[in-house]
Symmetry: C2
Subunit: 348 residues, 2 copies
C-alpha cells in the first residue's frame, strides 16, 4: 500500500523556502518572522501542488501541528517504556516536534483499538507511533494507514506501516557464542513460560547458537515463570547435582530470573562466577548493579527504538514515501552484551 | 500573588452553555456540533467579560488547546517517572486533555530553566506541570507564574504555584511505629548519603518516631550510598556482632539498600525475618517481589501525584483561582506501608 503524495518538501522546493518555513506558514505559527510575500508564495505553492487536498484526503488537517503522538500499552508494567519515551522525546525535540503521549491499557488482542489512534488524529498530530510488547504482528487501524505512522515492538500484518523491534534472536545467540568462546561446554538456559515475542526470539537464538557449536542439550533448557522465583526454581532443577554433571554457565531469559539464580547459588554453596557463570537479559535497572558480582546481561535498544520511530515518522511526514517500503519487514536493532562480573573464563 | 481573573466558567455561565462548549467555540475545534447561534453567544460573552484580554495578559492565547504539558527531569534515572506520567495521563484523558511530555536533563540548580516552560507555552498548552526530585524548593520562571502551573516534588519558593510531594517523614515514622508495635526495641536505620529531600524527610521521620518511643540510639543510624552496595556495607557494620548486641530490625532508606542487606544477612547466617526484620522504601519494581522473603516496604504516591497535578491544573485552567492558595504550602500525599514477608513480630 504505497501512496505517492505531495509532501511538505515538495511545497518547500516549489516555493524556494525551507521545510520549517512551510510548516510555520501553513501552521500559522505565531511569532515567526516570515514576510507576507513569502507566506503568499508558500500558500500558492501548496495550492498548486494540491498539498492541502492531499493532506485532507489522508485524514489530516492542512496545518501541521508540530506534534507527534506516541501510544504505549501499560507504561507502568513495561520496565523500559521510560527509555522509549526518552529516545522518542529527545529525537522529537531535535526536530522541533512536541511528543504527545497516550497510555492505553494492555491489549491482549492483536488489533489496535482505532479509538486510540483516532484520539491522536483528533488532536491533529502530524504522525503516530504505536508501541507494544505482546505481539509479533498487529492489525493497524485505518487512521494509521492513512496518516504517517510507525510501530515499535510489532510488525504491521499488512506490511504497510514501518516497524522496529529488538533483535532478540541475535542478542541471545551472541551470549551463547561468548560463553562458548570463554570455554563453557555445558551451558544451560532458563527459558520463559510467557508467550511473547521475546520468549520465542531468545529461545530460537539460544538453540541455534548451541546447535552451531555442537553443544545443544535439550535437558539443559528448562522453562519457568520469568520472575526471580522462576529463576530460583530453574537453578534448583538444573544445578542440584554433582559438580561433574553440572552446567558451568546458566543463561537466563531475563535479569529477574538471574536474581533468583543468585539466591539458589548461595543456598547450594556455588560461587558466581567461580563455580557458575550467570548471564541475564534486559539490563533492567536496578538489578544488574545491585547483584554481587554485578550481572553480565544484554541491553535492549529501547532508547534507540524510540529515536528510530521519530526519525522514520519525520521522514514520512516530510513526504518521503519511500520510507513506507520499510513496512514490509521489521527493522531489527541490536541488543548488545553488557559485560560485568558474572562470567568466568574456563581454563582452556 | 493571587490573581482574580475571568475564567472559562464565567464565560460558560454568561453564555448559558457548558465549559466544554466554550472551549470548543473559542478553540475553533473542528467537527463539533455547536450551532452558529451558540458560537456567537459564547464569543460575545467572552468579549464582554474581557476573557480574551485577560488570557492574553497571562501570556496565553485565547484558544484553549486541550493540551497540558508535563516537564520531567531525566525520566530515565527516576524509577517512578512512569507512574507520574501514567497518573497524569489517565487523569488528563478523563478530562479531555492530551498530555504533552518534555523530558529535560537533570538540573542541579534550583532555578527552573525558562526555555523549558517557554517551549510548552509556544506549543500553546493550557497549563504546565513541572516534576523534579532534587530540590525542596525551586525558583519558578515567569511563564509558570503567568500560566496555570503546578509543581511535583518541590515547593515554589515564591509560594505562588501549587505543589505536591510525598510525605516522606510520615511514611518513615509509620515504619518505626510498626516495628515498635511488633515488639522491636533495637531498631537500626541505614540512611542515605545523597543530599535530596527524601534523604532528609525519611531521616527526620525515623528520628522523631524513635525518640517518641524512647528508642533513639544514634549508634544504630549509619549513613551509606543509597545502592545495594551501601546497604550491604551498612548491614555488615551494624550486624556483625553477637546476637545480644544486634538490632532485630533494620529499616533501609530504599529497596536497593535492602537488597544489599539480604546479601549481608545470608553471609552472616541470619535468616530474614527470623533473626532480622528488614524494611525498604520506594516499592521499586522489581525488587520487593524478587527478594525472598518478599520485602515489606513503603510505596511512593507517584501515580497519585501525577493525577493530583492534572486535577489541580484543570481547576486553575477553569479559572478557579482559589487553587492558587495551595501554592503557600506543598500538599503532602501519604506513603503507605506495603506489608510483605520481611518483618517478624517478636514474642511479647
Amino acid at each position: 500500500m504505497i501512496r505517492r503524495q505531495v509532501g511538505i518538501r515538495d511545497v518547500a522546493a516549489a516555493a524556494g523556502v525551507s521545510v520549517t518555513t512551510v510548516s510555520h506558514v501553513l501552521n500559522e505559527t505565531p511569532h515567526t518572522r516570515t514576510s507576507d510575500d513569502t507566506k503568499e508564495r508558500v500558500k500558492q505553492a501548496a495550492e498548486q501542488l494540491g498539498y492541502k487536498a492531499n493532506r485532507l484526503a489522508r485524514g489530516l488537517r492542512i496545518n501541521a501541528s508540530g506534534m507527534v503522538g506516541l501510544i504505549t500499552e501499560e507504561i507502568a508494567i513495561t520496565p523500559y517504556a521510560g527509555r522509549i519515551i526518552q529516545g522518542a522525546q529527545e529525537e522529537a525535540a531535535k526536530r522541533g516536534f512536541t511528543l504527545a503521549i497516550l497510555n492505553s491499557e494492555l491489549n491482549p488482542d492483536p488489533e489496535i483499538d482505532p479509538k486510540l489512534s483516532q484520539a491522536l488524529v483528533d488532536r491533529q498530530t502530524d504522525g503516530l507511533i504505536y508501541a507494544t510488547v505482546y505481539h509479533d504482528e498487529v492489525v493497524v487501524p485505518a487512521q494509521m494507514h492513512a496518516a504517517p505512522a510507525v510501530l515499535i515492538g510489532a510488525r504491521d500484518r499488512d506490511g504497510d506501516v514501518p516497524s522496529v523491534m529488538p533483535d532478540e534472536r541475535a542478542g541471545a545467540a551472541a551470549v551463547i557464542d561468548m560463553l562458548v568462546e570463554a570455554g563453557h561446554t555445558r551451558i544451560a538456559f532458563a527459558a520463559s513460560s510467557i508467550d511473547v515475542p521475546a520468549t520465542r526470539g531468545r529461545l530460537v537464538g539460544v538453540r541455534e547458537a548451541l546447535a552451531d557449536a555442537g553443544l545443544l542439550d535439550e535437558a539443559l533448557i528448562v522453562e519457568r515463570e520469568a520472575e526471580a522465583a522462576g529463576g530460583y526454581a530453574a537453578a534448583r532443577a538444573l544445578l542440584d547435582r554433582p559438580a561433574e554433571d553440572r552446567s558451568t554457565a546458566l543463561f537466563c531469559y531475563n535479569d529477574r530470573m538471574a536474581m533468583g539464580v543468585y539466591r539458589a547459588a548461595a543456598e547450594l554453596g556455588l560461587s558466581i562466577p567461580g563455580d557458575l557463570s550467570v548471564v541475564g537479559f534486559d539490563d533492567q535497572a536496578p538489578i544488574p548493579h545491585s547483584l554481587y558480582p554485578e550481572l553480565t546481561t544484554v541491553a535492549l535498544p529501547h532508547y534507540e527504538m524510540g529515536a528510530w520511530a521519530v526519525n522514520t515518522l519525520s521522514a514520512l511526514i516530510d513526504g518521503k514515501d519511500e520510507y513506507r517500503l520499510l513496512g514490509a519487514h521489521a527493522t531489527l536493532l541490536p541488543c548488545p552484551i553488557v559485560e560485568r562480573g558474572s562470567v568466568a573464563r574456563l581454563g582452556v
